[in-house]
Amino acid sequence: MSIRATIKTQFEQVAVEQERKLAPLADDLKLIDCGLDSLSFAIVVARLEDALGVDPFSSDKAIDFPVTFGDFVRLYEGFAK
């Protein structure tokens, strides 16, 4: 599965678990508008660490905090390389 597809699956699965209504995951969708709350995001990041072996947020490298879904995917793509 591609990184993008893995991320999309996690967003969808966590939204179901947490009973959140997820907005369609377009690249320009702002994360704040996607429907997930902080706890849901925290779970997504933890699951992605299991699935992809990286947590870009906790690396020593400086990162740009993602604002849109596209930023979020690019952040993981950059680290998984």
Partner: protein, 465 residues
């Protein structure tokens, strides 16, 4: 040391009429107007000498009530907006409360012992008479415990303002914003600074980040405070540049280098500082060098307001900001060392001349400010028929500071052929946790492991959480 004035109102008016304002989500109140007006509908005398529960949910109302009740109430119990309704009766009992102050039109709690109920309203009315100070009000704050009833921590104006060394407004106006609830210790510190030095713009419970930042901008925010989790939300809100503060403060959780660096990049004009404080220990220190952790030279430093020591890898704090103790059922459990310092329960590690926080002693996991006790979750997992034992621990998380994960050892009794696949089992376990636990307590990840380490004493070996 200068002697502290008797009441909060005396203190903020000591240098003259205050110029600041309280910016609520629905209304703004000029501090100067409180000299001759009241938010308590002329009922302040009904509260005199009483033990008052402050249950207003609205931050502006809570701020107004605190300003009016200090010097009037014998005791003022600050109930945070998110206080579990089931915990209110034991809090009231432990505080021997006989009055409460709430939002106008808010739900009236039916509580035993409450004889007087007064609403606080930002629509001020003329005060019935001059302010009369009759009591050294005891301020009671609640800890953020979750498994049980919060503990009641006793302070007074002197302990709460101990870290406020300069209470006179400077030449430049200061507008303090806070993501914290001003009824909790971290937010209360900001409230007290703000009313002495300028204005306050507090977030309201549940207020979306962009909406609060827009209010903060409109109020001209210069200083702003929140937990690292609050700040990560800001960084990911798309609204980070709404404000351009001169000073950004993080406290309440461990500030890691990533969030400090990101805030420095977002607010290049600002001092980005992280501070350590706890409800019991008070404000211990502030770090302004932009680095995670704090210089080892802070420990055992002679002189100064605060004396910091490390005992058994745990931070101890002795200062005039220490709480007096717990009230009611927990009165005996206040943790003080032999030197009188408060044991913070926060574990430290020294690396290259700097101390770094490792987490809480006793393994309490802090998920976005909510405490989680691993044993409670393990009990739920262990009740599953396929499970022999489990270990719940903390994993660092950039959004909530920490998140709960679990490792599970399966019972041997289930024949291999009848065991479901690990991912099916993990999903089933998460499902059963969700049935009986709050969402933040449900493990984000469950791993099936062959064994868990058990110590000679027969206890599960817990990694330093």
């Amino acid at each position: 040391m200068p002697s502290k004035p008797r009441s909060l109102w005396d203190s903020i008016t000591a240098a003259g009429t205050p110029a600041g304002r309280l910016h609520g989500a629905g209304a703004t109140v000029a501090l100067a107007d409180l000299a001759s007006s009241t938010s308590l509908g002329g009922r302040v005398e009904a509260l005199r000498g009483r033990s008052v529960l402050l249950i207003a949910k609205d931050s502006l109302r809570a701020a107004l009530a605190m300003l009016e009740l200090d010097g009037v109430a014998a005791r003022m119990v600050l109930c945070p907006a998110d206080l579990d309704a089931a915990h209110l009766p034991p809090v009231a009992r432990n505080a021997a409360a006989d009055a409460c102050v709430g939002d106008a039109g808010g739900a009236t709690a039916e509580l035993e012992g409450i004889r007087v109920r007064v609403d606080v309203d930002p629509e001020l009315t003329a005060a019935p008479g001059p302010r009369v100070r009759s009591h050294e009000t005891e301020w009671v704050l609640l800890t953020s415990g979750t498994t049980g009833v919060p503990k009641l921590v006793s302070h007074d104006l002197a302990t709460l303002t101990d870290a406020l060394t300069d209470t006179r407004p400077g030449a430049e106006p200061v507008v303090w914003g806070t993501f914290y609830d001003i009824r909790r210790y971290g937010g209360l510190q900001i409230f007290l600074r703000a009313v002495h030095l300028g204005s306050l713009v507090p977030a309201d419970p549940g207020e979306p980040v962009p909406a609060f930042l827009e209010r903060a901008r409109a109020a001209g925010v210069t200083h702003i405070s929140g937990t690292p989790s609050h700040w990560r939300k800001v960084l990911m809100s798309g609204a980070v540049s709404t404000i351009a503060p001169r000073y950004v403060r993080l406290s309440g959780e461990i500030a890691d280098q990533a969030v400090l660096d990101a805030l420095r990049a977002a607010y290049p004009q600002a001092i980005v500082a992280h501070a350590f404080a706890s409800t019991e220990a008070g404000v211990a220190f502030e770090v302004r060098d932009g680095l995670a952790g704090f210089p080892a030279s802070f420990i055992d430093a002679p002189g100064g307001r605060v004396r910091l020591t490390v005992t058994a890898d745990t931070l101890h704090v002795r200062s005039g900001g220490n709480a007096h103790g717990y009230l009611g059922d927990d009165a005996g459990s206040f943790q003080r060392g032999s030197d009188g310092a408060v044991d913070t329960g926060d574990r430290l590690e020294e690396r290259a001349g700097r101390y770094y926080f490792l987490g809480r002693q006793g393994g309490v996991i802090n998920v976005g400010g909510l405490k989680v006790y691993p044993e409670e979750i393990e009990a739920v997992i262990n009740s599953h028929p396929w499970v022999r034992m489990s270990l719940v621990r903390s994993r660092h998380n950039p959004i909530t500071g920490a998140i709960v994960i679990a490792e599970v050892v399966l019972a041997d009794e289930t024949p291999e052929a009848q065991r479901p696949a690990p991912e099916v089992l993990a999903r089933d376990l998460i499902h059963s946790c969700r049935q009986s636990l709050a969402a933040y307590k449900v493990p984000a990840s469950i791993r099936i492991v062959p064994r868990l380490e058990v110590s000679a004493a027969g206890k599960l070996v817990r990694p330093n959480a």
